[in-house]
Symmetry: C2
């Protein structure tokens, strides 16, 4: 079935600013709360939020097989369970409804009044109920940088790294959407040169620039998803700030991996941009010749995506500074490799599971995806617009991650994930 929603020549009867992340070719999915306290599944065109529940009730999705209340829910999980064919049909239909040439909704004010909201009048929610959250570690540059700083500069990359899309489980309960502030965590750390740990607020709170993909139900327990089929089970992507407390991490992470250093908060952008919308931005990933991965991880064709990413820090009442510009295409392991690996042991994947890319660092120093790397462990502070310096994130700072794809025809963006770091809540 063709992805008619991607037609770059299509114009909408809704007014959309020139550089919007959300042209009619995007049509992402999310969940929003209206001023009347109604929660609904929605989409976005320009600066308008579209109530898909209302559209469905008014018959605009007639002819597409959908359960009655699939959009009148507070998560996208059921819709995502309906599978790729349904996602595509619905997205194509939304493009059609808002096509400049289609008068049906355009010329029906009473329908428009219940379907279309200004973005400023809605509050974005977490788009899915995330049952399980996995975070990968798939940037060769990031893994190398961390290895140099924390382990052995001469053997920065661990022996398994080029064979395995290394990943670990994260915490679902503290994933929050853009706009929700995050408290600096308290915890145990081991001061340099000491043998006894101390307790207090983390002094080294960091962001991690990541993207994440959201899955649909994929397999029964015990079965794998072969790599050629993996993309069928990826609904779409969000931006992810995987907040990290480096001092807590350093003390706790051997041998079982990061735990409290990560699970105090992970922030995501609220609109899930579908893989269909990202299709025009497919590109090659880094060569995997030395070594070749095992056959279950080998794939032909282009499976990376050219997504421009940037991170800004805005101190309180100070203009933001861009501290990093990176791109998802730098990642050594692709999303389909990650999903094929994750299920090679029969691990069950559900609708709404989230899988983070791992920190996305490029080869140059201005493309690193964390303060740890950008300031090289605090040795090279970054200067803000007010002259203050940052080695890590200060209380009151807002961290903003943005992402977009651009070709000669269109720009497809993610909007942003923006979250402010607040002081710790005093321990009880």
């Amino acid at each position: 079935m063709p992805i008619t929603a991607n037609n770059p020549d299509r114009k909408s009867w809704l007014e959309i600013s020139q550089n919007s992340d959300f042209p009619i070719q995007n049509i992402p999915f999310g969940v929003f709360l209206t001023k009347e306290n109604v929660v609904t599944v929605g989409s976005r065109i320009g600066d308008f939020a579209i109530d898909l529940g209302a559209l469905q009730q008014l018959g605009y999705f007639d002819g597409i097989e959908l359960t009655d209340d699939v959009f009148m829910q507070d998560t996208l999980n059921d819709f995502i369970s309906d599978g790729k064919k349904t996602w595509r049909l619905v997205r194509n239909r939304i493009a059609d409804i808002f096509d400049a040439e289609n008068a049906k909704l355009r010329d029906n004010k009473s329908h428009r009044d219940v379907v279309i909201f200004k973005m400023e009048d809605v509050e974005m929610q977490l788009p899915v109920f995330i049952g399980d959250y996995t975070d990968f570690y798939s940037s060769r540059e990031h893994a190398t940088n961390v290895g140099k700083m924390f382990r052995d500069p001469a053997n920065a990359l661990l022996p398994n790294w080029l064979h395995i899309p290394v990943g670990y489980h994260g915490r679902s309960s503290t994933i929050v959407p853009s706009g929700i502030p995050v408290h600096r965590p308290m915890g145990q750390t081991l001061p340099n040169g000491e043998t006894q740990p101390v307790f207090g607020p983390s002094r080294l709170v960091d962001f991690e620039l990541e993207t994440a993909f959201i899955t649909t139900d994929a397999n029964v327990m015990g079965e794998n998803i072969p790599i050629e089929a993996a993309e069928e089970y990826i609904f779409g992507m969000v931006l992810l700030n995987d907040w990290s407390a480096r001092d807590i991490q350093k003390w706790e992470y051997v041998p079982l991996g990061p735990f409290l250093a990560k699970n105090f908060a992970s922030s995501i952008s609220p609109w899930i941009v579908t893989m269909d919308a990202l299709e025009p931005f497919r590109c090659a990933s880094p060569k995997q010749d030395d070594p070749k991965p095992l056959p279950y991880l080998q794939q032909k064709g282009d499976h990376a995506f050219d997504i421009n990413l940037e991170v800004a820090i805005a101190p309180e009442n100070v203009e933001e500074s861009i501290v990093s510009k990176s791109n998802l295409k730098y990642m050594y392991w692709t999303m389909s490799q990650q999903l094929a690996h994750h299920t090679i042991n029969g691990c069950r994947i559900n609708s709404g599971d989230m899988m983070g890319s791992g920190t996305i660092s490029g080869a140059t120093e201005d493309s690193f995806g964390s303060m740890l790397e950008l300031t090289w462990g605090g040795q090279k502070p970054i200067t803000m617009k007010d002259g203050s310096e940052r080695k890590f994130i200060n209380d009151g700072d807002t961290v903003i991650i943005r992402g977009f794809c651009q070709n000669k025809d269109i720009r497809i963006g993610f909007g942003e994930v923006s979250s402010k770091l607040l002081p710790p809540i005093p321990t009880k």
Copy 2:
């Protein structure tokens, strides 16, 4: 409010065998499916399953504030959310309903017919929807054994271990109840002495003898649960077999911890035994003097529980062999320390989250909680009843974990978690 359900002198009008894990003093909670395909929240007395939804509809819980359908659900999460006071009221009431002196249900056949099922006529389900699953690593003996084998025998215990109840995130989607078979996982391993990994079925599938506790909603994000309050938020406990593939684990776990080596399956016993029922078996945990933990982990009084545990292996068509006898009281870190630590950074805890103890090994060789330790990495095989030897678990073997508490008055048990290891499903 007194725990009247714990009265050791109480007799039931239901027939209960002498050594039952489920005397009227236990009253655990679970979810079962009847032959009529009805799913309900239930309890168990002797070999009878009690339909709590039916009891509620018939008015037996009148006077206790409960939402109308709290027991007519396929998980215990909503009931658990109601909090400790409600759990106690309901458990006390169930004890009263089935008290030998109480004629109300006893003498009402039409009520009994819809409330009471034989255990053989119901199918146990997963008792809770587990949003997040955390596994700790709290047995000093286990951590020492693993450190000796995998790292440095002279410094087996890592520097953080005596300061932190070390834990990591597990996978919720593959937690299954007793009786569901588990497939041997496929995966990458690095043969001894080689530098290139190979792909195939794991050759070293192991059990891990654990218990796990189930939480209620405890905090908002950013707030901690102080150690003195932690037990208020623990609903009850189950037995846990944290299946592990040692060869996959060895190759993948540095630096981010176990992933595919663990997330192919975790099996739990289906009845959640409440902390109220376990109250008579509270006991001291190992002294923590050298070093003393940081203040947020210090506690007074007895916070361990004296729970006898055993593991049996039954090869196909062969009588089982008991391979380990251990006890939860050996654990260095208590459940309240684990929960206080888990939330010290503000990590949000929800109703139905599950937290595993980590492998429960005692000091003696016959009390180790995994084949890895029992056979010391395969060097000392265990002989089964048919003369065959086991270094790890074979296809066709059933692994059974049992647990019970016993004092001079009563026995409170968990039943068992029993799961058969099947060959891998061929990869697609």
